[in-house]
């Protein structure tokens, strides 16, 4: 018996409002788990960056992602409930239920980190400074009108070679594109999350904001 053969309505998830009843949608378990994996990693990454660089905008993104992971965990639980018909099923499925609860814990942890930022508990400025030396930072920027990035594919920008920057996620309206492909086209008003050395990240931000008009070789 295969419960799920297609993933209709997958993108509907994106427009799901906060704390509303979550309706069952047939999504393959594998797809749910993959999405949960990607979102959890991004969320934790963003959360640490938000805390270490005291960045409230990033913290807000984290809280939004938390909501999405929680939704996915609910959907996973629903798949399990539907699939269990007898004792054997129940035995086999408790493991997946454990995954759903662990995923929930991870997203709660990320939200806790975002909370540290929101409550202004703060991290000593020197921590950010030292951190910047040993680790690459994440940066969030919005693609503005007049930016030369608009309409370009990520691959043709060759950011890694040019300035040591990688785009790790794109937020487009309510959608999150994680680990975007080389062929993904950058659109006006996209929120780009990039990782890289401080100088490269700064240059990239200027490109996105339209302040810098030329890609240097």
């Amino acid at each position: 018996m295969f419960l799920v053969l297609y993933s209709r309505g997958w993108s509907d998830l994106n427009s799901m409002p906060r704390l509303e009843k979550i309706e069952y949608k047939p999504i393959p378990v594998r797809e749910l788990l993959l999405e949960m994996k990607n979102l959890s990693e991004l969320m934790i990454d963003l959360a640490y960056s938000a805390a270490l660089f005291n960045d409230k905008e990033l913290a807000e993104d984290v809280l939004e992602l938390e909501n999405r992971v929680d939704t996915l965990a609910y959907l996973l639980e629903m798949e399990i409930l539907i699939a269990a018909r007898d004792v054997e099923d129940a035995e086999a499925l408790t493991g997946v239920s454990g995954v759903a609860s662990a995923a929930d814990k991870i997203s709660d942890a990320a939200a806790d980190i975002a909370g540290i930022v929101m409550q202004n508990i703060g991290v000593h400025p020197i921590v950010s400074k030292v951190f910047e030396k040993v680790e690459e930072r994440l940066m969030r920027t919005k693609v503005s009108e007049g930016s030369i990035l608009v309409g370009k594919e990520i691959g043709e920008l060759d950011l890694a070679a040019r300035m040591g920057v990688d785009i790790i996620a794109i937020r487009r309206n309510k959608d999150w594109i994680i680990d975007p492909k080389e062929t993904e086209q950058i659109k006006l008003s996209d929120i780009l999350i990039a990782r890289g050395a401080p100088s490269g990240v700064k240059e990239f931000k200027e490109l996105a904001e339209g302040k810098l008009k030329k890609l240097e070789d």
Binding site: P28, I44, I106
Partner: protein
């Protein structure tokens, strides 16, 4: 700020960075172990969980034994709380790994979580003579050359989360996943 205090700060932050990176790697490996139904990866996660406990204790002791002034101490409260959260993340990742170690039953719903194609996880030792030595992962182009994707780099008792700028060293163990055909290519590249 005196040089000595600055050094203390730096050491604390470096410790924290390791906690952070290890917790992130654990999430990655835990989910990978589940998606590939691979017990070795799950064991790696469990091992890292113990390592995290040790790291976290060392981190807390280091913070506690530093003599901060009142204003400085406030700036470190956030870092202490972050440390506690990394521990939570590590615990959750270990729970996912536990599911894999208990054994996933071939239930139809779960079957969907296991790769249909024969994807494997492989361990490759990097020899002194390997062309990979001293190259960054970006320059090494391992996925292009072998079709294998590096999940983690084991170096001594540390496990490093691979980033494009991570440098490969002789003696590293590359933990990678991909289709079985790539396994030999990767091993040859790592130990020619």
């Amino acid at each position: 700020m005196s040089m000595q205090i600055r050094k203390q700060f730096e050491e604390i932050v470096e410790r924290f960075v390791e906690l952070k990176n290890t917790s992130e790697l654990m999430i990655d490996l835990a989910y990978s172990s589940l998606l590939l139904n691979n017990k070795e990866l799950a064991e790696e996660v469990q091992r890292l969980e113990e390592y995290m406990d040790k790291l976290h204790t060392e981190f807390e002791l280091l913070v506690l034994s530093s003599s901060f002034k009142k204003e400085e101490a406030k700036g470190f409260l956030g870092l202490i709380r972050l440390g506690v959260v990394t521990e939570k993340i590590a615990d959750a990742a270990a729970e996912i790994a536990e599911v894999v170690l208990r054994g996933i039953e071939p239930h139809p719903v779960l079957k969907l979580t296991i790769e249909e194609a024969e994807e494997t996880v492989t361990y490759a030792n990097v020899a002194e003579s390997s062309p990979l030595v001293n190259k960054t992962l970006r320059d090494a182009r391992i996925p292009e050359e072998t079709g294998m994707w590096v999940l983690a780099i084991r170096r001594g008792d540390k496990c490093i989360r691979p980033k494009p700028e991570s440098k490969i060293q002789a003696g590293d163990v590359l933990i990678a996943s991909g289709y079985a055909e790539g396994e030999e290519d990767l091993k040859k590249l790592a130990s020619p």
